[in-house]
Symmetry: C3
Subunit: 206 residues, 3 copies
């Protein structure tokens, strides 16, 4: 179980760091700007969560998170010059990062003894705020807030974890795996069939 | 007194959540984006205050704040499709939200034993940072920083509270009521007569 | 040594507050918007550092930091109307602010007993996040992420401090002075000769 979460976490860090570098590429930032954006994207969600919860920020104790994010940043910086990254693959990877971060975040907050509602909110923050900060720094309106089933997928995955966690006798690995699949499934389905939630409309003045 | 502050707080949450949904409507975000923006706008100021003060974030203990913000978000999302909201009414509501949040924030920080100066700064942050984060997420320059008597109203209300709080024998309710009226009065007067503070000008290069 | 750091800190506050007012001038904000931006720019880096480290935010105990930032804000607001500020001078002042904040931040985190890697990261955050928040609030992509040797200079100065700090018998003043000169030198050299780090490029789809 520990092992499983560890690897999931690693995948999330690498994938989100990579999306940071891609965003930096679109804005023609330089190498160090790209590495900063990689680190902020990869760690922003968990950092926000820990700061709100008033617990030690996770990468202060385990600084290898930062090293991995920074290393991914440098490698991707040169990779995207020569390797064409299919948009499709990137969106799938991003969905995977979202899924694991939401589940890890929700899990961590539950284990700290908070209520299920707080755990769900914090899981969504863990999964989505890194990308949100990335988009704000790039001058874009965050993907999280736009017309994509992004917050919905995160919310569903976090809720699934909280509900399943309450069922006696279900092994932790199964709970985590199902919650990850729920998030991933909803997000990928939205991408595949171009699903979208209702859009906000304002009644025009007459 | 407790009762009074409780209801003020509630009004502030609902009003700011509503302004978040309206902003989401202008940017054509989807339902969940709008709800996220509603929650961030309604709780952002108090969250920033508590994180800077290193005290438990207020909605971790009383998660009903989040529920109210989220419920307001969902209801407003559908409301603004059918009901035309007069801009005038919205600005008045926003001024009311600002006034109560500034006063509640200043009060809370005073009661934690901080200096009057810090209490004023924190009151202003409580009242204004939710809207500031909303505007940043929407890609706009924050209303707080633009040509409106917004920070000025917040500052005056917080200062009024700190000064009145020092006067012996004045009941707490009166202090709170006056401070709210000061903030509200200045902001509404600015809206009514289009007042504005001096604008920053840079001497052009010759 | 205490004395030296105190004066450096003061210079950093004044210089960064001034850059905040200049940014406010470019966006035609009003007096209070400019003062808010001055305070946020001057204190944002250290505030972010202290919030991540979960230590008391520095200006809560010593509120004179805020007073200086606010006073600089008001004075600069009127100054830039009449006095033409050479861009060159401003960039040099900004480099000086960056240098002292990076070094003070790194020093503080080292003295709290964190690892050198964390101290370097926190030094960079101290020096750069005030300006980053300023740029985000103005709706610009942060200078830190763009094509300037900015993060590089900060990183080098923080690394220099950490390395020199480890050498026995080197007086603290010398360590601090060298680290400041490293940051300042790299940043000024980049400005003078228009140096730039490699730029992120994305392989176009074929």
């Amino acid at each position: 179980m520990e092992q499983l979460l560890f690897w999931c976490d690693l995948i999330g860090i690498v994938v989100f760091a990579f999306t940071g570098v891609l965003a930096a590429g679109h804005k023609q930032m330089d190498l160090f700007g790209a590495v900063v954006l990689a680190c902020v994207t990869a760690t922003g969600g968990g950092t926000t969560r820990d700061m709100i919860l008033n617990v030690p920020v996770f990468w202060l104790a385990d600084s290898y998170y930062l090293w991995i994010a920074a290393a991914t940043g440098v490698i991707s910086f040169y990779l995207i010059r020569y390797l064409q990254v299919p948009m499709r693959l990137l969106m799938i990877a991003d969905a995977a990062g979202l899924a694991v971060f939401v589940v890890i975040g929700t899990q961590k907050v539950l284990s700290l003894g908070h209520t299920p509602a707080i755990a769900i909110v914090m899981g969504v923050i863990t999964g989505t705020f890194g990308g949100l900060i990335r988009d704000v720094l790039c001058g874009d309106i965050p993907l999280l807030l736009r017309r994509e089933i992004y917050a919905t997928a995160a919310l569903s995955g976090a809720a699934a974890l909280v509900i399943l966690d309450d069922i006696q006798g279900l092994p932790g690995e199964v709970v985590v795996a199902i919650a990850i699949l729920v998030t991933l499934g909803i997000r990928l389905a939205a991408l595949r069939w171009n699903l979208s939630a209702p859009i906000a409309r304002i009644r025009p003045e007459t």
